[in-house]
């Protein structure tokens, strides 16, 4: 066990896999010599050298396409796209190429490719540098999607992604880079597709990820003082989606509140709601509620940014409101 930040967990995961497997290579903009704009990958270039670790030109499409070509010919690339907001710049390569390559070839290729990007709001980076990408990316079969919320999960899921034979997008939440936690460097890699009940409870189910998970836990803490006990689930991966854990929890609590850092339309929470409204409808004692960003955008102004991104207070209010519904 070592105490480390979420940021360090990324570095450690990449280093561990590169040590273990020569075919792992890593590239992106300013990731090698500079160690990444969020200082997430210092030392990787120094340890593994210029053949396996490379800075690229500002060319997101070429980065992903090259990583794909390398993945189908024997390497296990990790490609970084810096801000998840830049994913759309390389969108064709991600959704029409990477996601579909194995399928279109009738299974001739596997695509062991990891794409990393940092995402999320709260830092005052403005409308084009604060988005979460998982809700868009859920639309493309062929991709897997991990959204770790703790240093241990980052270490576990990023290694799982690198070892996985399918393309996995790992989204790192910027607001969590300094979060500290215990990490077992010798642990087996995480499992893609497994949610975790991070706080058991019986009054309602709270489903969240990343920054929202921590805020949900904060709300749960405060609600506990009033004897309200939410069960808090960290989805950890959105594809595959662990429907079983969600349904089992809702069966116990009869109420579901989904907390997303995403606009309402299109948000991943709609998928969770749809799942429960289909397979778990008769467990429900109340409407499925969602706390999210409505259909608006993240502004630069702190006054607006702090308002639009759900916080513990809003989650708490939504819980109390939901418990009052019948």
């Amino acid at each position: 066990m070592r105490r480390m930040t979420y940021r360090q967990a990324v570095t450690e995961a990449i280093a561990a896999e590169m040590r273990r497997d020569d075919s792992v290579v890593f590239f992106g903009e300013d990731v090698a010599k500079p160690g990444g704009v969020f200082k997430v990958t210092p030392g990787i270039y120094e340890e593994f050298g210029p053949v396996r670790v490379r800075d690229t030109p500002i060319s997101e499409q070429a980065i992903i396409g090259t990583a794909l070509g390398a993945a189908i010919t024997g390497l296990r690339p990790i490609a970084e796209l810096m801000f998840a907001d830049f994913i759309p710049v390389a969108m064709d390569q991600i959704v029409n190429q990477v996601a579909k390559y194995r399928f279109m070839s009738g299974g001739q290729f596997t695509v062991p490719l990891t794409i990393r990007a940092s995402q999320g709001g709260g830092g005052g980076f403005g409308t084009q540098h604060s988005q979460c990408a998982e809700s868009w990316l859920m639309n493309f079969p062929g991709l897997k999607l991990a959204v770790p919320a703790t240093p241990a999960d980052m270490y576990g899921l990023l290694r799982a992604a690198i070892r996985d034979d399918d393309p996995v997008i790992v989204l790192e939440h910027k607001s969590l880079y300094n979060l500290v936690g215990d990490v077992d460097l010798e642990a087996a890699p995480g499992e893609l597709g497994k949610a975790e009940i991070v706080r058991p409870g019986q009054d309602l189910t709270l489903v969240a990820t990343q920054q929202m998970l921590h805020r949900a836990l904060e709300a749960a803490e405060s609600l506990a003082e009033d004897g309200i006990s939410p069960e808090v689930i960290d989805l950890r991966t959105l594809v595959p989606l662990d429907g079983e854990t969600i349904l089992r929890s809702v069966q116990g609590t009869s109420r579901l509140l989904i907390v997303e850092e995403a606009p309402r339309l299109g948000g991943w929470g709609a998928n969770v709601a749809a799942l429960v409204a289909d397979e778990g409808l008769f467990h429900l004692d109340a409407p499925i509620k969602r706390v999210n960003m409505e259909n608006a955008l993240i502004a630069y102004s702190p006054a607006l940014e702090d308002e639009i991104i759900p916080n513990a207070r809003k989650i708490e209010e939504a819980v109390r409101q939901l418990l009052s519904e019948t």
């Binding site: 290579v25 053949v51 396996r52 490379r54 690229t56 030109p57 060319s59 499409q61 070429a62 980065i63 992903i64 396409g65 090259t66 990583a67 794909l68 070509g69 390398a70 993945a71 189908i72 010919t73 024997g74 390497l75 690339p77 064709d92 390569q93 029409n96 190429q97 390559y101 194995r102 399928f103 279109m104 070839s105 009738g106 299974g107 001739q108 290729f109 596997t110 695509v111 079969p141 062929g142 897997k144 996985d164 034979d165 399918d166």
Partner: protein
């Protein structure tokens, strides 16, 4: 830069080129028939007239090299050695097709011959070849990668990103532009402000070579020279093969936008005829032999089509297969 066309090919290589080109021509004519008869759904993009490009490049490649190409890819597949059966079955969406019917006309792919994929998004195949070149570079295999694209694709952003990054990383990759003068129904002069795509190579500090795309020997030579340079660690090159498609852009296009006489002009320099004529005059082929060759290949094509027609479709319950490796 000093890429120079080599000597003429020897008889055996010429014969390989001739066989490849005739096979492509006959196979594509048959494919067009299938489509026009509505025996196959969807669309198709033929390379009739452009056979020297795929055949010439393929002759210059070695085992272990990789190729990506476009939806106009039947020629590349056959030149690289895809079986006619796998091609025809794929064309019909059969389980025994090259991609188990999942790919179709626009996605002829065959890992076993180094054909990493034909792409239906203009320009998307360029960096995928670079990835194969990166693997070769990282592993030090000495292999190269080749990517084919059209004149129209030279205007898409990814062309630029690819050539730039390949040059910076000195990747062993050849960018091969088959300039057939049109992108769909638009003449290149209306979408591109320069005459020669090869002139763009300078923006990436790599060699840019204009090649007679109707002359399979010229294509082979230019490719071999660029390939040798790439294998030698000197980085990528851009080759522009000047060529022409005799047919329309795709199945339904009759080519009303052509200038009068343009097609006939190009047909005078038909790649198959040109090579055959040279072989005649060098005493490497006579008319009768050539007819026999054509006949045999026509039979092969016919047999492959008939075989493919009788093959089964993928079972419906397999529809979600191959989406993930674990499927």
């Amino acid at each position: 830069m000093a890429l120079e066309a080599g000597d003429r090919l020897d008889k055996e290589s010429r014969m390989r080129a001739l066989l490849a080109m005739v096979k492509i021509r006959l196979a594509e004519e048959e494919i067009q028939n299938l489509f026009m008869a509505n025996l196959v759904r969807g669309t198709t993009h033929l390379a009739i007239g452009q056979e020297a490009c795929s055949a010439g490049v393929a002759l210059a490649l070695c085992e272990g090299d990789s190729v990506t190409c476009t939806y106009r890819g039947h020629g590349h597949a056959l030149a690289l050695g895809m079986s006619l059966r796998a091609l025809m079955a794929e064309m019909m969406g059969k389980e025994s097709g090259a991609c188990r019917g999942r790919g179709g006309s626009m996605h002829m792919t065959d890992k076993s011959i180094g054909l990493l994929g034909a792409n239906a998004i203009v320009g998307a195949q360029l960096p995928i070849a670079m990835g194969a070149a990166l693997t070769a570079q990282v592993k030090g295999t000495g292999a190269i990668a080749v990517t084919f694209f059209g004149d129209g694709a030279a205007n898409i952003g990814l062309f630029h990103e690819s050539l730039n990054m390949a040059s910076v990383w000195k990747l062993p990759v050849l960018f091969i532009c088959e300039n057939n003068l049109y992108g769909e129904y638009s003449p290149i002069r209306e979408t591109t402000p320069i005459d020669d795509i090869a002139d763009r190579a300078g923006a990436y500090a790599m060699p840019g070579v204009i090649v007679d795309g109707q002359d399979v020997e010229a294509v082979q030579a230019a490719t071999a020279a660029a390939a040798a340079r790439a294998r030698n660690g000197e980085g990528p090159a851009l080759l522009e093969l000047k060529t022409y498609r005799y047919g329309g852009h795709s199945r339904s296009d009759t080519g009303p936008y052509r200038k009068p006489g343009e097609l006939a002009h190009w047909q005078e320099r038909d790649p198959i005829d040109m090579l055959a004529a040279r072989m005649y005059s060098d005493g490497e082929l006579d008319q009768e032999e050539f007819l026999e060759i054509k006949d045999a290949l026509a039979q092969e094509v016919f047999a492959a089509v008939e075989w493919a027609k009788a093959e089964p479709f993928p079972p419906p319950q397999s529809l979600a297969d191959y989406v993930y490796a674990s499927d």
